[in-house]
């Protein structure tokens, strides 16, 4: 029997803000994914994508980002909350693809400096992801008061986040496997 193909689950760091505290969050998620067998991941920093901002949608598609989205079985979106919403540039990047996302799983990690862990941004992001053809899972991870969660070196101070991330990733991997089977073997109609 051929060995199963690894699941591809990239982590999207959804902010370009200087001093962003979502960076250690995204690194932690990628690190936790790497520890799981049968999963390939990479951290996609939207600040490093060469997307133009004088147009929108698939006209701005970056071939490298598109290729990773095509290979992906699921996505982790790390989404900080700015003024009760997700970042505009995260939307700009997500909108640059469409067919690449259909019938793939997505989980959202909310980040905020305040007490609500990015929940308002997550609530706004869910219908966008749905329209893109992604399938949202019912677990989120919420990083509240994120400036206190990591030390100066970016190491996690509050170990309670690890079991929460574990639950989130278990559900995401299950959905990724299930949707891959569906994409490849279950016909529409």
């Amino acid at each position: 029997m051929k060995p199963a193909r690894a699941l591809c689950i990239p982590v999207i760091l959804g902010t370009v803000r200087q001093g962003r505290m979502s960076l250690p969050v995204a690194r932690l998620l990628a690190s936790e994914l790497t520890r799981r067998p049968g999963i390939e991941t990479e951290l996609i920093d939207i600040a490093r994508l060469p997307l133009r901002v004088d147009d929108a949608g698939e006209a701005t598609k970056d071939p490298t980002f598109s290729s990773v989205m095509s290979r992906a079985d699921a996505l982790v979106v790390v989404s900080p909350e700015y003024n009760h919403g997700y970042s505009g540039l995260l939307k700009h990047v997500l909108d640059s693809c469409l067919k690449e996302y259909v019938h793939k799983a997505v989980g959202i990690v909310g980040v905020s400096a305040g007490p609500f862990g990015g929940t308002r941004g997550i609530q706004d992001l869910v219908p966008v992801l749905r329209e893109l053809g992604l399938v949202t899972i019912f677990w989120d991870v919420n990083f509240s008061s994120v400036q206190r969660v990591f030390d100066e070196s970016g190491s996690l101070r509050d170990q309670a986040y690890l079991p929460r991330i574990d639950q989130f990733l278990k559900e995401l991997v299950w959905m990724a496997r299930t949707l891959r089977h569906g994409r490849e073997h279950i016909a529409l109609g």
Partner: protein, 71 residues
């Protein structure tokens, strides 16, 4: 896997791909207007995936060949 009248063939594996989704997309160029399904209100894009290698492909409903082979 259901048989398609005009199956999409995986360029890597040479086998029939699975037609797993149809997504409504909206015209962004004037030349796209003719492709709009007037009942559904947009352009129907078929999504296919290879059961062997997982590669994806898409085409507009009614087209016979792949329009796009992402990845």
């Amino acid at each position: 896997m259901a048989r398609n009248a005009s199956p999409m063939i995986c360029p890597r594996c040479g086998i029939e791909m699975n037609h797993h989704a149809e997504k409504l997309v909206y015209p962004t160029e004037s030349g796209d207007d003719a492709a709009v399904d007037s009942v559904l209100g947009g352009i129907v894009e078929e999504l296919h995936a290879c059961p062997a290698c997982g590669a994806g492909a898409s085409r507009r409903a009614g087209d016979r060949g792949p329009r796009d082979l992402p990845g």
